[in-house]
């Protein structure tokens, strides 16, 4: 029994990482139907940007600041203007393919200009363990969980309590109507891209000390976040959090009780079941479909 509890606590800690990556993923889908196959790489890159600034001799805090700004510029603004905008009206697929190519490009660039080696990354959360429910759990994981929850609370507050948020929701749900009632739809969509860029930079800052700065670390993360987003509900920010935590826990339970060789299969089966029987996700709302 205590073993089960251990697994759940550890799973939640890992799940928090997936959740944080999945949040931005769902945001992009909501506002612009962008399936970003490079989301994992988006999380990997800011850490390297920060490392690069540190190599120039800047202190850590400055590196973080520059990293976040660069990330907003590259992964937010440039990504939207150069890649998403020209392709969006041609449907989901070409854009999805382009983000796959982008993922390759980012990985290769990091490998070529930095290193194929994993580098350690300074942690902003103190390194160490605390005892939670009788189990030692790392402070870093708790930090990630806290930030993930804060991000959702913040985003939900922004979306539901402020007029800016209402405009963003309107822009996401029905751009045509939103435009008629005077919502600057384009600016709202750009805003979600910037939010995603800042979120991935934040995720990068929190996750990299655990995952290490490595060109390939986005692959596992991206796929896990992807599944988390779908399972939780592709169109709900809190769905992504729930999905992330769930995948983290299910993965651990699968390894413990099903088979370590097939642990990766269990989230996939969960994914298939969710799509077939509750395609809007566990916490999502049904998407309106026009016949």
């Amino acid at each position: 029994m205590s073993n089960l509890l251990d697994l759940i606590v550890a799973g939640l800690a890992t799940g928090a990482i997936y959740a944080l990556v999945a949040v931005g993923f769902t945001l992009l889908w909501q506002t612009s139907q962008t399936i970003n196959f490079a989301q994992g790489e988006f999380v990997m890159l800011p850490a390297f940007l920060m490392l690069a600034v540190m190599h120039l001799g800047a202190p850590f805090w400055l590196a973080v600041l520059v990293g976040v700004l660069l990330s907003a510029l590259l992964l937010g603004l440039a990504f939207k203007m150069l890649l998403v905008d020209p392709m969006l009206r041609h449907g989901v697929l070409p854009l999805a393919i382009a983000t796959m190519a982008l993922a390759i490009g980012i990985k290769e660039a990091v490998k070529q200009f930095f290193s194929a080696e994993a580098s350690p990354f300074p942690s902003i959360v103190p390194v160490g363990d605390v005892s939670v429910l009788g189990r030692a759990i790392s402070l870093q994981s708790l930090g990630v969980l806290a930030v993930a929850i804060l991000a959702v609370v913040g985003l939900t507050t922004l979306l539901n309590r402020t007029s800016l948020g209402h405009q963003m929701q309107a822009a996401a749900q029905n751009p045509t109507v939103a435009r008629i009632i005077g919502v600057p739809v384009e600016r709202m969509i750009l805003l979600t891209f910037l939010i995603n860029a800042v979120l991935v930079a934040l995720a990068s800052l929190l996750i990299t000390p655990i995952y290490l700065a490595k060109f390939s670390s986005g692959e596992v993360l991206g796929q896990a976040a992807f599944i988390a987003a779908i399972v939780g509900g592709f169109n709900q920010v809190r769905g992504a959090i729930a999905g992330g935590l769930l995948i983290g826990v299910v993965d651990n339970l699968a390894a413990a009780y099903v088979s370590t060789q097939y642990r990766a299969a269990v989230p996939m089966v969960l994914l298939i079941l969710v799509i077939l029987f509750r395609p809007q996700g566990l916490l999502g709302r049904a998407e309106e479909r026009t016949v």
């Binding site: 399936i35 196959f37 150069l82 890649l83 020209p86 392709m87 041609h90 449907g91 989901v92 697929l93 070409p94 854009l95 393919i97 382009a98 796959m100 190519a101 982008l102 390759i104 490009g105 290769e108 660039a109 070529q112 796929q223 779908i230 592709f234 060789q261 097939y262 990766a264 299969a265 996939m268 089966v269 994914l271 298939i272 799509i275 077939l276 395609p279 016949v291």
Partner: protein, 332 residues
């Protein structure tokens, strides 16, 4: 199309086919291997093009079927089966599995369908890796023999290339036949407007499943050629990335165009090889090239051509309409 255009097209086809037969005779082993790989990937991409491009069903599982085909051929031929017999069994298996994979498409569509097939792809990779009793697991299966076709051994690169090219030609003919047949029309109807298709008596369920089944069979056929081409099969090449690559080939070539996969596979197989002169930067350049191409033409390479022809056709059509209008007015 005008008579002149048709003649031009036929001439072009003859030049390309002749080129594919004659030019590689002087190629070294590497060149022949890459071209064989291109032919094999084209076959797999053609299958996906049927499922996705013509019938409109998004699938991220084509790589898994190439895997099934490759493992089928590897296991059976190393147990002494002739390749052609393994091909038969692979076709049957891929048809059945593809048909079953089509069922989710009856419930969900678009990105949801993509995710289900993505999950299937990952599951198949795990099966290839973990079921060692059948697939020899991560060690893979080596010493896969190359077949003898009508008494001609294909152990050497050139005959094997001709085997791949011949298979590609056969598959292309079959595909051309299928697309021109009433089935092809029904597949396109499924893609463009399934509800209207139903009201015209088109059994959309059966055609959807058929589109998956036939597309998957082509993936299997590509796999059956892949195994003797590399003469070694392990799970790694058949991970999700292959399915994504095949999807890219279809989209980049131009989805829903008969010859899209030929160009798409060229981009995916040959372009990285050409870019290798850039050494460490070659994959980066490759990614940039793909992105740039898609930004320039999200409908793929043949989409550019289609847009050009399309605008000319619209001009012609509006001229026709104007003429008809004036005739009508004159009659009144």
């Amino acid at each position: 199309m005008s008579k002149h255009g048709r003649l031009l097209l036929a001439a072009l086809a003859i030049v390309v086919i002749g080129g594919l037969i004659i030019v590689p005779m002087n190629f070294n082993r590497y060149g022949l291997y890459i071209l064989s790989q291109w032919a094999v990937m084209t076959i797999a991409a053609m299958g996906l093009n049927l499922t996705l491009g013509y019938a409109g069903q998004v699938s991220l599982a084509q790589g898994a079927f190439v895997g099934i085909g490759a493992y089928g051929a590897a296991i059976l031929t190393t147990h002494g089966w002739p390749l052609i017999a393994s091909l038969g069994l692979v076709i049957v298996i891929c048809f059945i599995v593809g048909w079953l994979l089509g069922y989710p498409a009856l419930r969900v569509q678009h990105h949801y369908l993509a995710f289900v097939t993505l999950a299937f792809s990952t599951l198949m990779f795990l099966v290839f890796r973990n079921e060692s009793w059948l697939t020899n697991g991560i060690y893979g299966i080596s010493n896969i023999p190359r077949p003898e076709i009508l008494g001609f051994p294909t152990r050497k690169p050139l005959p094997f290339y001709y085997l791949c090219l011949g298979s590609l030609a056969l598959v292309t003919l079959a595909m051309w036949w299928l697309i021109r047949s009433p089935w092809g029309r029904a597949f396109m109807a499924l893609r463009e407007n399934p509800i209207r298709a139903q009201s015209l008596g088109i059994d959309t369920r059966r055609y959807t499943l058929m589109a998956f089944a036939i597309g998957s069979v082509l993936g299997g056929i590509a796999g059956v050629l892949y195994a003797p081409l590399t003469q070694y099969v392990d799970p790694v090449p058949f991970n999700l990335q292959l399915s994504l690559d095949l999807l890219m080939m279809v989209i980049v070539g131009g989805s829903g165009f008969m010859f899209g996969p030929f160009l798409g596979a060229m981009i995916a197989v040959l372009l990285p090889e050409w870019l290798r002169v850039a050494e460490g930067y070659y994959l980066m350049l490759y990614a940039l090239a793909v992105i740039a191409l898609l930004i320039y033409s999200p409908t793929g390479i043949l989409g550019i051509l289609d847009r050009y022809l399309g605008s000319r056709r619209t001009q012609a059509a509006s001229a026709l309409r104007a003429a008809a209008q004036s005739k009508l007015e004159a009659a009144q």
